[in-house]
């Protein structure tokens, strides 16, 4: 333990990654059962395609079961879409349950952005409990970004 180990943020997790694939294809890998089953979960886990159930509408489900290869222990994940904006944004809430074996994954919220960069796609994943305070902060942050963008665009047109 050194002084640099002190977390300087709240419990939100940000992960961003650029994938060498067009955005529509990356979107399909998140929203089609057989595609999602081919990658979801950390090393040592598999997702049986038949365990995946997706209803791609707001309020719809995004359910799957992770199976630990070594032990066969199953971890069902029950998730509900909060926002679906094809092909750029997904927001969902992971509803826990004692049976999922993941405990802390319960009630987590995921925001996934798909940024179009032609042949590449940048995926930004934001995981958090998103308290009301944090939601407001995020919304304010976006508003400020757009205000700044507007100012730049106006300046460029003059």
């Amino acid at each position: 333990m050194t002084d640099t180990d002190i977390p300087v943020d709240d419990r939100d997790v940000y992960i961003t990654r650029s994938f060498h694939a067009p955005r529509e294809l990356v979107w399909r890998f998140w929203t089609e059962p057989d595609r999602l089953a081919s990658w979801f979960g950390p090393d040592g886990f598999s997702v049986p395609t038949e365990s995946v159930s997706i209803t791609l509408v707001e309020g719809g489900e995004w359910n799957l079961t992770m199976v630990e290869d070594a032990t066969g222990i199953t971890s069902p994940l029950h998730t509900r879409f909060v926002t679906v904006r094809e092909p750029e944004y997904l927001e969902m809430v992971i509803a826990g349950g004692d049976s999922n074996g993941l405990g802390e994954l319960a009630e987590l919220r995921l925001r996934v952005e798909f940024h179009d960069h032609g042949e590449k796609t940048r995926v930004t994943l934001h995981q958090g409990p998103f308290t009301d305070e944090q939601k407001t902060a995020t919304a304010t942050g976006w508003e400020m970004s757009f205000v700044a963008l507007d100012a730049i665009l106006e300046g460029g047109l003059q």
Partner: protein, 115 residues
Amino acid sequence: MTTDTLSPVFAALADPTRRAILQRLTDGDANVAELAEPFSMSQPAISKHLRVLEGAGLISRNRVATARYSHLEADPLREATEYMEKYKRFWNGSFDRLAQALADYQDQNSEGAEK
């Protein structure tokens, strides 16, 4: 460690003053006057922050003569860090597999070859 136990830890860490206090305590125990010194804050205000940190288990306080000394407790911090690292490993591992799955898919499809 459950989410319920970690919640007060993350709530305590959300405040910049409290993070600065923890940072200061990595140099050694300190009383409230010493902790208040770098901030333009009253000692009662600092004491309030100390109570939050104590409630989250991030510090303990011992009385030495008339002064109370705050002591950094490392375990909750380590657990909070491990919580974050666990999810980063989860997603980084999944994203490695997604990159591979996308590459495999495009190799097998003419769409990929035409681009």
